[in-house]
């Protein structure tokens, strides 16, 4: 027979307490499902041991594509008639570099946006449950799973770290 699992939501008013709880949970066999917060706390990010985001690669790819797009667009249009303008070569490096530069920024930002959308998997309108609106306001939230039999142990750990605790799955009782 499968062991009954429950989810426990710990809510912290303090960033340091939340980071400490994350570290504490990392040292146990309980799994952290999600961590929410109103600010991008680096302490919590470090405690979670998350890898560096790969958004930058999209940005870099966009920037490189942009430079060549801008420069080659200017060069292509100039070579359609190959007229000497202002005594400069048909494919004039300095002015076309400026076009290339602006396109670099533009496409790098497009790459950045694509990176954010694909990495964060947003937009995502499916209801997140359990969720507390205070996670965007003034509380850090940690959602953990444990076997029903070890519920009290998990709750005690979270409370010891300063959390308001709520059992949200398998048992509707407020703990």
């Amino acid at each position: 027979m499968a062991v009954k699992k429950i989810s426990v939501l710990g809510m912290f008013a303090d960033e340091n307490a939340a980071a400490s709880a994350v570290k504490g949970l990392k040292n146990t066999d309980w799994s952290i499902d999600r961590v929410h917060g109103p600010i991008p706390s680096h302490k919590i990010l470090d405690a979670l041991g998350m890898k560096k985001s790969r958004v930058g690669w999209f940005t870099l790819g966009g920037g490189i594509t942009g430079f060549f797009t801008g420069f080659l667009l200017a060069a292509f249009t100039a070579t359609r008639w190959s007229l000497i303008v202002g005594g400069k070569p048909v494919v004039a490096l300095v002015p076309f570099f400026i076009v290339g530069f602006e396109f670099t920024i533009l496409f790098a930002v497009f790459g950045n946006i694509i990176g954010l959308i694909t990495q964060m998997k947003l937009p995502d309108y499916t209801e997140v449950s359990p969720y507390n609106i205070r996670f965007t306001g003034d509380r850090f939230g940690i959602l953990t799973h444990c076997d029903a039999g070890r519920k009290a142990e998990l709750i005690n750990l979270l409370r010891a770290k300063g959390a308001e605790v709520e059992v949200v799955e398998g048992n509707d009782d407020k703990c």
Partner: protein
């Protein structure tokens, strides 16, 4: 009482409560101004560009003056949101959102002027890299084409940066509203829930935005300056123009930040968020940019004298003592002398003084563009081609309309979206 996360949310969310009658009166007045400006533009389109006062030798009048003015206003928004973010200057957090918004709306307003100045606005596609019926392509060696690319990039990047920065705040509003507002904010917040899996990517992406916006903002006003500097016209053809324009742009933009923030702070009771210390920091930066601008004014005159070039010398003599000398001295006094008052702590910590000085700098920076644009082409190489320029009532109408458009958009923004970044304010508490 000390600021807390809850207090920040409550203060900012209180600004989004249904507005009073006075707000709608203001919105209506500004809308009337926008419609008046649009009517003047329509009249110009139907009648011809001749209804504006631009003619030989001054072919670039208020349309270009206002274009440069509004692009300049935009710049300090990016300085505050991007450059100061990279420098981790905590005082920018309370004003970053409003300054970024100012950037977006100022670029929108600026972007209208090339269309207005075209006269035959339906020919606008000539500026785009598509072959028209004569199989001609735009000339990318022209600084005007650099401008098309730079300004459209700036508008796109600023808008995306603004929206991305607002995402966590939109979720805060979504979580505290009901009905149709909840539905709207649910859509535009894209399902943000503050998960650290999201924050991990978001902080990285936001950093790259700031890192990209920083060189962009410097390049944009440099490109705008090259519209002039690459022309062989006395007073324009100088290498100092790019840094001079960038410093001037930030100078004017910071003044506009004060012009907008001071009433915003009083109306929305932001005193604990936008503290006098924040306004003082803006004032100190204005002293710095004012000194750079003053140095640039002095350098221009010095180089004209030092060059022994008769035309350059005559141009700068005429600027200071000729037909537009009043405009020249308004520029010098408002941009370099009056900001020096901010050296006194009593003045830079006094709201009324700050507001008054910001208005003077705004006026001075508008006149700077007037002096540069009209003062050079009106009095260049050949004495018999010299001439004066006076804006017509159509130009005044369009100019007033553009100011109304900017304030109309800003006034709509402050009651419908968070004018202070709640998330960044919370971050600054740590």
């Amino acid at each position: 009482m000390e600021l807390t996360y809850e207090k920040i949310d409550n203060t900012v969310l209180a600004t989004l409560k249904p507005p009073e009658k006075g707000y709608w009166v203001l919105v209506s007045l500004l809308l009337a101004g926008v419609l008046m400006g649009a009517s003047c533009w329509l009249y110009q389109i139907l009648t011809g560009i001749g209804v504006a006062g631009q003619n030989n030798p001054v072919a670039w009048g208020t349309y270009l003056i206002n274009f440069v003015f509004w692009v300049g206003i935009a710049h300090s928004g990016t300085l505050i949101s991007a450059i100061l973010h990279l420098f981790r200057a905590g005082w920018r957090n309370p004003i970053a959102r409003a300054a970024e918004t100012m950037t977006v709306f100022a670029v929108c307003t600026a972007g209208l002027y090339p269309f207005i100045h075209l006269g035959r606005v339906w020919m606008v596609y000539y500026m785009l890299p598509v072959p028209n019926q004569r199989l001609l392509w735009p000339n990318f060696q022209s600084p005007l084409m650099f401008d098309v690319v730079a300004i459209s990039t700036y508008l796109t990047v600023s808008s995306l940066f603004w929206y991305t920065g607002m995402l966590p705040d939109l979720a805060i509003i979504r979580d505290r509203t009901t009905g149709i507002r909840h539905k709207i904010f649910k859509i535009i917040s894209l399902g943000w829930t503050g998960r650290f899996e999201h924050w991990r990517h978001y902080t990285r992406g936001y950093l790259f935005f700031a890192a990209l916006a920083t060189p962009l903002v410097i390049s944009v006003h440099s490109v705008v300056s090259w519209d002039f500097a690459l022309g062989v016209v006395p007073g324009w053809h100088t290498t100092i123009f790019a840094p001079y324009f960038v410093a001037g742009a930030i100078h004017s933009g910071l003044a506009m930040v004060l012009t907008l923030m001071i009433p915003l702070r009083a109306i929305f009771h932001y005193e604990e968020i936008i503290t006098i210390k924040v306004l003082e920091s803006v004032a100190k930066t204005i002293i710095f940019t004012g000194l750079i601008v003053g140095f640039a004014y002095g350098t221009e005159v010095f180089i004209a004298w030092y060059s022994h070039n008769a035309v350059e010398i005559e141009t700068f003599r005429w600027r200071a003592f000729g037909d537009y000398s009043l405009e020249y001295w308004i520029m010098v006094v408002c941009n370099t002398v009056i900001p020096l008052l901010l050296l006194f702590k009593r003045i830079r910590t006094h709201i009324k003084w700050l507001f008054a000085i910001s208005i003077f700098v705004n006026i001075g920076m508008w006149y700077e563009r007037f002096v540069i644009i009209v003062g050079s082409v009106g009095h260049d190489f050949i004495p018999h081609a010299w001439g004066l320029y006076t804006p017509t009532i159509v130009e005044f109408g369009i100019m007033i309309g553009s100011f109304c458009l900017f304030f109309f958009l800003f006034v709509l923004f402050v009651k419908h979206l968070p004018s202070v970044s709640m998330t960044e304010m919370k971050e600054s508490l740590h």
